[in-house]
Amino acid sequence: MKLEDLNSLAKAYREAMPYLAIGVQMAAMVIIMFLVGKWADEKFSTQPWLMIAGIIFGISAGFYHFFKFVTAESKKSNTSSKNEN
C-alpha cells in the first residue's frame, strides 16, 4: 500500500469516525445508565424503578449528545467548506 493511499484512508476514517463513534456512544450511554440503575435498584431495593429511570435518562442523554454533536459537526463542515471556497 502506498503512503498516499494510507493517508487518504486515514483522512476518510478521520472524517467518518466521529459519526461512527457517536452511535456507539449513544448505545454506551443507555448501557451505562441501565447498569447504574440496576446497581442502585439492588442497593436500595427499589426494583425496577431506578433501572427504568436510568434507561430513560440514558436514552435522553444519548439523543441530546447526538443532536449536539450533529449540529456542531454540520456547522463545522459548513464553515470549513465556506473557507475552502
Partner: protein, 299 residues
C-alpha cells in the same frame, strides 16, 4: 485423534495453542465452544507447547473495601511482554535515527508511524497544540498495536481482548482528555462548559447529562477495542471448532483456510483498532481543547 491435531499443527502455527485445549474436550461436543471461549480469557497460567506454566499468585489485598487481586495472570504477563517489545523497538529506532541522518530499517519503519500519527492524527484533530501530547498518543498506539498482535503468535494471548485492560486504557484516555481540556481552557471555562450554557434551573438535569457524555466517550473506546479483539478470536476459534464438531479430518482444509484468512484479517484489525483508539482519543482531546480556540478561529 492425534493425527488430526498433528495435521492442524503443521497447517497453521497460530492455532496450535488452541488445539491443545480443544483436544482435551472433544468428547463433550456441546461444551466445545464454551471451552474454546475460555481460550480468549484470562488464566493464571501460560500455555506452552508442553502443558502449562503457573504464574505467581498473590493473596487479594483489601483497599477501601474492594478486594484487589494483584496475581500475575496470562494477560498481565502479555501486557509486560508487549511493553518490553514496544520499549525495545522504539528505543532501537530512536538510537538508529539519532545516530544517522538518514533513517534506515527499524528507524525508518517506526518513523513512518510517528510521522503518520503526527500529521494524520494529532495535527488535524488537535492542531499544533496537540504535539505536546504526542508521547502519550504514540505510547497508546504502539502499546495497543503490539498487545493486539501478541495474540496472533502461537501460544500468545491478546491482552486487549480483556475488558479490564481496555478499561484501564480508557481510564488513562479519560484522564488525558479531561486534563488537556482543563489545561487549554482553564478550570472555569471547563466547568462552565459542563453546564451546557443553559439557565441555572436546568443545571441539575444538564450537568449529569454532560458528565455522562464525558464518561461514555472512553467507555465506548474501551468496549470497541475489547469487542473487536475478542470478536476476531472468537471467529478463528469457531472455525477451528467446526473440525471437531464434524469429527472428520476431511473438512479441516476449509476451516483452516478460513482461519488463516481471518488471521490475516486480524493483522489488519489489530492495526486498525490501534489506529482508531489513538484517533478517537486525540479527536476527543481536540474537541475539549478547541471549545475556546474555535471561537478565536471563527473571527
Amino acid at each position: 485423534m492425534s493425527s488430526i491435531i498433528d495435521t492442524i499443527k503443521t497447517s497453521s502455527h497460530t492455532i496450535s495453542g488452541i488445539t491443545d485445549t480443544v483436544a482435551a474436550h472433544t468428547e463433550h461436543k456441546e461444551n466445545i465452544f464454551v471451552e474454546l471461549l475460555h481460550h480468549t480469557q484470562d488464566s493464571p497460567y501460560l500455555e506452552v507447547p508442553f502443558g502449562h506454566i503457573n504464574l505467581p499468585h498473590f493473596p487479594p489485598v483489601n483497599i477501601f473495601g474492594i478486594e484487589i487481586d494483584f496475581s500475575i495472570t496470562k494477560h498481565v504477563f502479555f501486557l509486560w511482554v508487549s511493553a518490553i517489545i514496544v520499549l525495545f523497538i522504539a528505543v532501537a529506532a530512536a538510537r538508529k535515527n539519532t545516530k544517522s541522518k538518514i533513517p534506515k530499517g527499524i528507524g525508518n519503519f517506526i518513523e513512518v508511524f510517528v510521522v503518520f500519527i503526527r500529521d494524520e492524527i494529532v495535527i488535524p484533530n488537535m492542531g499544533k497544540e496537540g504535539v505536546r501530547y504526542m508521547p502519550y498518543l504514540l505510547t497508546t498506539f504502539f502499546f495497543i498495536l503490539i498487545m493486539n498482535l501478541t495474540g496472533l503468535v502461537p501460544y500468545g494471548s491478546t491482552s486487549t481482548s480483556n475488558v479490564s485492560v481496555t478499561a484501564a486504557l480508557a481510564i488513562i484516555a479519560f484522564v488525558m482528555i479531561q486534563s488537556s481540556a482543563i489545561r487549554q481552557q482553564g478550570i472555569g471555562h471547563y466547568l462552565a462548559h459542563l453546564t451546557g450554557g443553559v439557565h441555572w434551573i436546568l443545571w441539575p438535569i444538564m450537568i449529569p447529562i454532560e458528565v455522562l457524555g464525558l464518561f461514555t466517550k472512553p467507555f465506548a473506546l474501551c468496549i470497541r477495542l475489547f469487542a473487536n479483539m475478542t470478536g476476531g478470536h472468537i471467529v478463528i476459534v469457531s472455525l477451528i471448532g467446526l473440525i471437531f464438531i464434524f469429527k472428520t479430518i476431511w473438512v479441516a482444509p476449509i476451516p483452516i483456510a478460513f482461519a488463516v484468512g481471518i488471521n490475516i484479517l486480524e493483522l489488519f484489525v489489530a492495526l486498525l483498532q490501534a489506529y482508531i483508539f489513538t484517533m478517537l482519543t486525540s479527536l476527543f482531546m481536540g474537541l475539549g481543547m478547541q471549545v475556546s480556540s474555535s471561537k478565536e478561529n471563527s473571527h
